[in-house]
């Protein structure tokens, strides 16, 4: 294991252990009260999902252009991150929305965009799983198209309707909240780095095992 793993894991674990303390200590938001605190985990999850989506797309471009197996490892990692953290966002979102605004779901820009991107990467994973041999290249195509789609979904849904708190919610956070928020973002991003490192390593080892099987036949 690369030497960074252990210290990074400890750091991330410590940050996540400390986060609830920070969150509890953060000022209570005036309109939504306690429920709003889910936002400290909800928003960073989306940050990770979109980072995963762009990682997948970028790695897919490299995979198609250069045929690099490493790039493919990063692509599948990005897609898995997008699916898992997207799911966290999709679950925490409605929980928050129900308490804060009384509805489980609304067809506004952020939610719809997030849902569509999430579905795209679920489709990516389904293709890799069930597409049979050679589906890595096909999935790369899906990853690229999925990422290119993001601005179009954003604009089309935006013109359609919007209710979600505007993006300006972040700058208008009170000082106590802002600190906690960025702390949680950092914790999630470091977690993402840790997961990428571990997952890519897993893929490399799988490729190695395949190599060994192949060499067995010699």
């Amino acid at each position: 294991m690369p030497r960074i793993f252990l210290p990074l894991t400890l750091l991330v674990a410590a940050m996540f252990a400390y986060a609830p303390i920070m969150i509890a200590g953060a000022p209570i938001e005036s309109t939504m009260f306690l429920v709003q605190k889910i936002f400290y985990f909800h928003v960073p999850s989306w940050f990770v999902m979109f980072s995963g989506a762009f990682l997948c797309a970028g790695a897919s471009v490299r995979y198609l252009a250069k045929g690099s197996r490493e790039a493919d490892h990063y692509a599948v990692t990005g897609a898995e991150l997008a699916v898992v953290f997207g799911l966290i966002g999709l679950i925490t979102g409605p929980l928050w929305a129900r308490k804060a605004w009384g509805v489980w779901w609304e067809w506004d820009v952020k939610l719809t965009l997030a849902l569509v991107v999430w579905l795209t990467f679920v489709a990516y994973m389904l293709l890799r799983r069930y597409g049979g041999p050679g589906s890595e290249k096909l999935a790369a195509g899906v990853g690229i198209f999925g990422a290119a789609n993001i601005p179009f979904v954003y604009y089309s849904v935006n013109w359609w309707r919007t209710i979600h708190p505007k993006t300006t919610v972040v700058p208008t956070l009170g000082p106590g909240m802002r600190g906690t928020f960025w702390f949680c973002v950092l914790a999630f991003m470091l977690l993402m780095v840790l997961i990428v490192a571990a997952r890519v390593r897993l893929e490399r080892q799988r490729a190695l095992v395949d190599e060994l099987y192949l060499n067995l036949e010699d």
Partner: protein
């Protein structure tokens, strides 16, 4: 062999083959009509269609029948292993993509000729009042849907579980096309038609088309070669 000549040759061959059997044409048109009928049962209450469902149903029928046509078109190629023969020819691979795209679009045009009047009839939707605008929306939307669909259907022709994977992959990516198509059409159908809004949606569709056709032309060759 210029790019356009290759496109023309392959497209002509595809249309010739299709015209001989007319299998895909008939089944797709029939499917689209059944779609519209089923939605009629779902959305028409006491002889009156609910709200402006006409726009939505038109585009859903286009999307569903488009997926069917794409699947069938590439299934036929796969069965004859002819996609391999085309890939072996000394031609630009993207030309094959464009030829297939145009072929499926021609098919979709035929389908739309049938279902647009049908939707207008069943849902009392004044689809013919802003006909040019509607035609433009349908054209741009079909290009976008088919551009992505042809790419994915071609990719999947070598994969397993291709029948179910095509819609799974295609629908999330074509969400903007459906939204823009439906909202644009609805803007033309509402009580006070809003051609400006329809134009705005049309421009979104056109930019989608440009971006995704370009992407497809770039990625077609690396994706199709093993």
């Amino acid at each position: 062999m210029t790019f356009l000549r290759v496109v023309w040759l392959v497209m002509r061959k595809d249309l010739l083959v299709e015209l001989r059997s007319r299998e895909i044409l008939y089944t797709t048109v029939f499917f689209a009509v059944s779609c519209v009928l089923v939605f009629a049962f779902g959305f028409v209450r006491e002889g009156q269609p609910m709200g402006d469902v006409g726009a939505g149903i038109l585009w859903i029928a286009v999307a569903f029948s488009g997926t069917l046509a794409l699947g069938r078109a590439f299934e036929r190629e796969r069965q004859s292993e002819t996609l391999r023969a085309l890939l072996l020819a000394p031609v630009d691979r993207p030309a094959l993509y464009v030829a297939k795209l145009l072929g499926v679009m021609t098919l979709m045009a035929a389908v739309q000729v049938v279902i647009v009047p049908l939707v207008a009839l069943f849902f009392q939707a004044p689809l013919f009042e802003h006909f040019l605008m509607l035609a433009a929306l349908l054209f741009a939307g079909t290009v976008g849907f088919t551009a992505v669909g042809t790419m994915f259907a071609a990719m999947l022709s070598r994969a397993r579980s291709r029948d179910v994977l095509l819609p799974v992959l295609l629908y999330p990516i074509t969400v903007p096309v459906i939204i823009a198509g439906v909202r644009g059409t609805a803007a033309l159908l509402q009580a006070e038609p809003d051609p400006a809004a329809a134009r705005a949606w049309l421009s979104l569709l056109v930019s989608f088309d440009v971006v995704f056709i370009t992407l497809a032309l770039w990625t077609f060759e690396p994706v199709m070669t093993d």
